[in-house]
């Protein structure tokens, strides 16, 4: 299996992410970022990857979560795959997304003994009705994603028994099993060692080259090179830049 080359809104050249004077943050708090304006459409960039870059605490993950509907925009407009994130029908759009979080679940929930196969299968649940009944095509997609991410021998093992790198591969397999129209990744590999980061980087490159658009929060220079454009967060603002312009700016600051 290679990551699905799903024909979705991206390939119809619709806007992937559009924001109009958007302010993001947490309810009853001051906005973390204000005045975000962008229209990320894959026809405008050389790749279908948009990076969120900037220092820690600048609002990158906050915007990613706002895109997913986990947070509501504090002001302005935000649409993903052509649908306003505050609309009731955005729940249908979420079924076309695949999210790879930064952290593994903590606390008691993290102790719930779910097998790797089951954890990957969660990626297919959104499209299978409220009971989550799987058909043959669902099982095939789950098995293929597990195989692609090199998890076959771990399929029946509990995710709690996995290393950080193995768990991230499970998260990526779950995303692939979903066969989404858009991937959203939050600093994959950030807590892994050098070798683990390398393995995850390879998988993300394969996602990025699959043709399915990807929004990626990252500090990783190698992954930034995959981006056709970056949204640069700094001092309460976010500005869309060409990747080369951003890396030149970053190198200039470094020297």
């Amino acid at each position: 299996m290679t990551p699905s080359k799903t024909k979705g809104p991206a390939q119809d050249n619709h806007s992937i992410l559009r924001a109009g004077n958007l302010a993001i943050g947490y309810r009853r708090s001051e906005p973390i970022v204000r005045g975000i304006n962008l229209d990320f459409s894959t026809e405008l960039t050389r790749t279908r990857v948009l990076g969120f870059v900037g220092p820690n605490g600048a609002g990158k993950t906050t915007l990613l979560k706002t895109c997913l509907g986990l947070l509501s925009p504090l002001d302005g407009e935000l649409s993903l795959l052509g649908s306003d994130t505050r609309n009731h029908d955005f729940a249908g759009v979420r079924k076309k997304l695949a999210y790879i979080p930064q952290n593994r679940p903590e606390g008691s929930a993290g102790q719930l003994r779910i097998s790797v196969w089951e954890a990957v299968s969660f990626g297919r649940l959104g499209r299978n009705g409220v009971t989550g009944r799987f058909r043959g095509v669902d099982r095939d997609a789950i098995d293929a994603a597990i195989a692609y991410c090199g998890l076959e021998k771990l399929a029946s093992r509990a995710v709690q028994d996995l290393s950080g790198g193995q768990f991230q591969r499970v998260s990526i397999a779950r995303a692939m099993a979903a066969e989404p129209s858009l991937y959203l990744l939050d600093e994959p590999g950030s807590f892994l060692d050098h070798e683990g980061q390398g393995a995850i980087r390879e998988l993300i490159v394969s996602l990025a080259t699959s043709g399915v658009p990807l929004i990626l929060v990252t500090h990783d220079r190698a992954l930034m090179e995959l981006c056709g454009a970056v949204l640069f967060f700094e001092k309460g603002n976010a500005k869309l830049l060409d990747t080369k312009e951003y890396t030149a700016r970053a190198e200039g600051l470094a020297t």
Binding site: R94, K95, S108, L112, R113, L125, A178
Partner: protein
């Protein structure tokens, strides 16, 4: 001995213990997974408020106690952050204290005898009326059906609610549903075992099952089996040794938890010894 079960009180008790033994431990697994342990105290207080309101309006207090327990589930779900992983402990603490304050104001200002409301908490499985047993059977059936039918979404939400939401699973509805059935189950459990011993039918079998560290589905099945065993063995012990039923169930349940922990420890020891032998060749 068989004649005992021809006595309606005993046959009703047996049915209630069997049904709740099958289903209520599943709620215990959900309570432990979602860190809802404070919820049971909150449900007790809200059930007390419901019983008090029931007495005030002249309706069976158990009915209002159950309605308020259901409301507790919806309220806690609403007060918790919508789709994040935040737990509902703070929300339940607020409800606990607020409901207790209202209850005592009602006692002070009206003619309600406090003891009638507090009677709700002195559970006695042998004093269950036919309607209450029917309610236990119906609720237990609903818990089992819901847990089987929605097992995958439930496990996804218990594992990582935020990510489940992001993937288009109706995580808020599933979470609310879990909270509501947990609250209803605790409310009914109070009637069977008493407020202070409701853990006997919910948490103890769940703790036993989790001690064996099996996967989620197996844990639910084991929790049910432990629940039925605890309840029926505890009931039998109470009859044979003239003990109060709820404490007998608790003692049996505690021994089962300790036994499961011992079984797991011994299993791991055998595995380690086998591995060490294989290494040394």
């Amino acid at each position: 001995m068989k004649e005992i079960f021809t006595i309606p009180a005993f046959s009703r008790a047996l049915l209630a213990l069997f049904a709740s033994g099958l289903a209520f431990p599943l709620l215990g697994v959900y309570i432990l997974s979602l860190e809802l342990i404070p919820v049971r105290f909150g449900v007790m207080h809200l059930s007390l408020l419901g019983a008090t309101v029931g007495l005030l309006v002249g309706v069976d207090p158990i009915i209002f106690a159950m309605l308020f327990a259901v409301a507790a589930g919806f309220i806690v779900s609403g007060l918790s952050t919508r789709a994040s992983g935040s737990n509902s402990g703070g929300a339940m603490a607020l409800l606990m204290t607020a409901s207790l304050g209202v209850v005592f104001i009602l006692f002070y200002k009206t003619n309600i005898q406090a003891i009638e409301a507090f009677n709700l908490f002195w559970g006695n499985v042998l004093a269950l009326e036919r309607g209450e047993v029917l309610l236990v059977a119906i609720v237990s059936t609903l818990i089992l059906i819901a847990s089987i039918l929605f097992l995958r979404p439930i496990s996804a939400v218990l594992f990582d609610r935020e990510t489940a939401f992001a993937y288009g699973i109706p995580a808020t509805a599933v979470y609310t549903g879990i909270l509501v059935i947990v609250c209803v189950g605790i409310g009914l459990g109070i009637r069977i075992t008493g407020a202070l011993m409701v853990d006997a039918v919910t948490l103890l079998p769940a703790l036993a099952a989790q001690s064996l560290k099996k996967n989620f589905r197996t844990t639910l099945l084991l929790a049910s089996l432990c629940g039925v065993f605890n309840n029926l063995m505890g009931f039998a012990m109470a009859l044979v040794f003239d003990l109060p039923t709820s404490p007998a169930i608790i003692v049996v349940g505690t021994l089962v938890v300790l036994s499961c922990k011992l079984i797991f420890y011994l299993q791991k020891k055998v595995e380690r010894d086998r591995f060490a032998q294989a290494e040394t060749g």
